[in-house]
């Protein structure tokens, strides 16, 4: 069909149309990555077709609890934030920075293979999309740059999926990051599935998105169909958990000695799970090794967590020994100093830190206690 003109180009697609999109992406050289069913959880992996998607499954998330269960429909995207975010595709948990060889008295760099795969991410949630944008900001705002993030980001093709119901720990609505993706995608889908029909409303967000969908079978949606999809997304806006985006940054930095820091640190195990699952946490460390001959050295960058005991250690002492100070560093960085550093909150409200905290510490509840809101 001919594409509708106007600023927002909206189409209707059947599941078969989505399959065709994957085919187009494969043909032009993209590796497609999307949600799959694995290890009793939703896992982002390479997918070959829509048959690899976790059709008919959903997840149930509560503080310290996650499980997947069957839905009573055949939705492809009927779940929320997967345990691991897309972070690892743009910012790998373990990356070789360089390898050096001894040569006589001197040293020389060794050739390094760069991963040149072009990735298409299928099913990025609005909050996750925002997390990608936030990390891009982090990795490009220094004068001295590490462009490895940008190199992957620039080549990404992103199919966002709007949420039509929210998970137990989601609070994207109050963080203004979801449940509807507004920008930074190539295509955005809203899935509509009911007794009679199963289709996607597609918003086109970029020229690449337009060209990918150009030859795919699609239809012009009726106003009713567009409204049905929009209504489902609005429904996802009602969430139990909330954070006040405007007052939280200032109130947190004004309450650095609040007694709740002591209380929460009695429960926090300082395990760092929250930082590992968080889609915006970016801290890293480096590890240097040599081979057995001592002639070949390698330096790797790995994800690190501000919860580790030696994170702030220096030769003369350790700036953050108590779990209280480490929890405080995490929370205040995420929700307060991040705003000073990068102009925006470092939290997108995906709820992962609540789900995957082994003792179920709820970031929104902690903020409410500490800021008295």
């Amino acid at each position: 069909m001919v594409l509708q003109s106007g600023t927002k180009r909206i189409l209707k697609l059947t599941p078969d149309g989505l399959e065709q999109i994957l085919d187009v992406l494969h043909k032009i050289g993209f590796e497609t990555i999307g949600p799959t069913l694995g290890n009793d959880a939703i896992v982002y992996e390479t997918i070959g077709s829509i048959d690899d998607l976790p059709q008919g499954w959903t997840d149930k998330q509560e503080p310290a609890a996650y499980r997947i269960i069957k839905r009573n429909d055949q939705a492809y995207f009927g779940f929320n934030a997967a345990p691991q975010s897309w972070k690892r595709f743009l910012y790998p948990p373990d990356r070789t920075l360089f390898r050096i060889r001894r040569k006589g008295k001197g040293l020389e760099f060794m050739e390094q293979e760069e991963n040149t795969a072009e990735l298409a991410l299928i099913g990025v949630r609005p909050c996750e999309l925002e997390a990608i944008t936030i990390q891009e900001r982090v990795f490009t705002s220094s004068e001295q740059r590490d462009d490895s993030y940008l190199a992957v980001r620039k080549k990404l093709f992103i199919i966002a999926v709007n949420c039509t119901s929210s998970g137990g720990n989601c609070f994207c609505a109050s963080m203004n990051t979801g449940p509807h993706a507004k920008e930074n995608f190539d295509l955005a889908l809203t899935e509509v599935v009911n007794a009679n029909e199963h289709f996607f409303i597609v918003e086109i967000g970029s020229e690449t998105g337009l060209s990918v969908i150009h030859d795919v079978e699609s239809a012009e949606p009726t106003e009713d169909e567009v409204e049905t999809a929009a209504g489902l997304v609005r429904q996802a806006e009602s969430q139990i958990r909330k954070l006040d985006l405007d007052t939280t940054p200032k109130l947190l930095s004004a309450n650095l000695e609040h007694p709740e820091w002591d209380e929460v640190s009695k429960r926090c195990l300082a395990c760092g799970n929250c930082t590992m699952v968080c889609p915006t946490c970016f801290c890293s460390t480096v590890e240097d090794t040599t081979d057995l001959s001592g002639k070949l050295a390698e330096r790797r960058r790995r994800w690190d967590s501000c919860f580790t005991l030696d994170f702030a250690k220096v030769a003369g002492g350790n700036f953050r020994t108590s779990p209280r100070s480490r929890y405080r560093q995490w929370l205040t960085h995420k929700l307060s100093s991040w705003v000073d550093q990068f102009g925006k909150s470092g939290c997108v409200g995906c709820g992962r830190c609540i789900t995957w905290c082994p003792v179920g510490i709820d970031i929104t509840a902690e903020v409410q206690k500490i800021t008295g809101t």
Partner: protein
């Protein structure tokens, strides 16, 4: 990419990749502190150039990197110096290197001491231990353009007489007109005729007009705390006090998160700060 010197341009994510530099000379300053003089590497194809107070990430082959201040004269372009206190893995490895060996350098990174702001003023430098290293380039710069500044007062504290760094230079500087160098040690020895005690005691031996002076402070965090208090007691405005802070650093360029103090990245917003930018943060325990 197999030549010995590789251009580490920033286009391809290489701000994390060092340039190689050859050690020209190693001088032991004390039992546990040495100065590495290295051929200045090229950075992005340009000659190495730095401002006093900036640091490099210094890489020991296969062992790791440490943030080390540049301690040489910024006007000398062909070599740079690092004065290093041997405290752990990387600094020990560096201490075992010989002339002709190669190390890796990323930098220069970070902010500089405010030499512009010091113009026309008396400059009071207060340092302890290895803290004198990042201030030596400042001293060289002040001396080079001597007429642009007022008096230079250097208060320096060390553990013992044997731990004093740059002894010969300290003596030379002290003989220059309008330069005062006063040293205190925690523990003296039989030959020591100077002051014993903490560096803040030395303020009673100098005259300072706080309105016409600027202070630059670097040393262990407790020493800086007491020095700041003393300077404020003597009428220094917060804005005339500058400090250089140390934190754990893995990247030096604002990416690894390790060096944060509240909203500041010490590596890129610092390490040198005007006191009003950090005092409210330093007052908090374990921030």
């Amino acid at each position: 990419m197999s030549e010995t010197f590789v251009d580490t341009g920033t286009e391809t994510g290489t701000a994390m990749v060092p340039s190689f530099a050859t050690i020209r000379k190693i001088t032991w300053e004390t039992d546990d502190t040495f100065t590495l003089i290295i051929d200045a590497p090229q950075v992005n194809g340009l000659p190495f150039s730095f401002k006093p107070g900036q640091f490099n990430m210094v890489y020991a082959f296969g062992t790791g990197e440490s943030a080390i201040s540049i301690s040489s004269d910024p006007f000398k372009k062909s070599v740079i110096a690092h004065t290093i206190h041997r405290v752990g893995t990387v600094t020990s490895h560096l201490s075992r290197l010989k002339r002709g060996d190669m190390i890796g350098i990323r930098g220069p990174f970070g902010s500089a001491w405010p030499l512009d702001k010091a113009a026309g003023k008396d400059v009071c430098i207060v340092t302890g231990g290895i803290g004198i290293a990042p201030l030596r380039p400042t001293i060289y710069s002040l001396l080079r353009k001597r007429s642009e500044y007022g008096r230079i007062i250097i208060l320096y504290g060390a553990r013992s007489p044997l731990d004093l760094l740059y002894r010969v230079e300290l003596e030379e500087w002290s003989k220059m007109p309008d330069v005062e160098v006063i040293v205190a040690v925690d523990r003296g020895d039989s030959s020591w005729k100077g002051h014993i005690g903490v560096v803040t005691n030395l303020f009673s031996y100098i005259k300072l007009d706080p309105r016409a002076s600027i202070a630059m402070v670097c040393g262990p965090e407790v020493m800086m705390k007491f020095t700041i208090e003393e300077l404020q007691r003597r009428g220094f405005a917060q804005s005339q006090i500058h400090v250089s802070l140390e934190r754990n650093m893995k990247c030096g360029i604002g990416l690894c998160g390790h060096c944060q103090l509240g909203p500041k990245f010490i590596c890129k917003d610092g390490p040198v700060f005007a006191l009003p930018d950090v005092q409210y943060l330093l007052e908090r325990k374990e921030l």
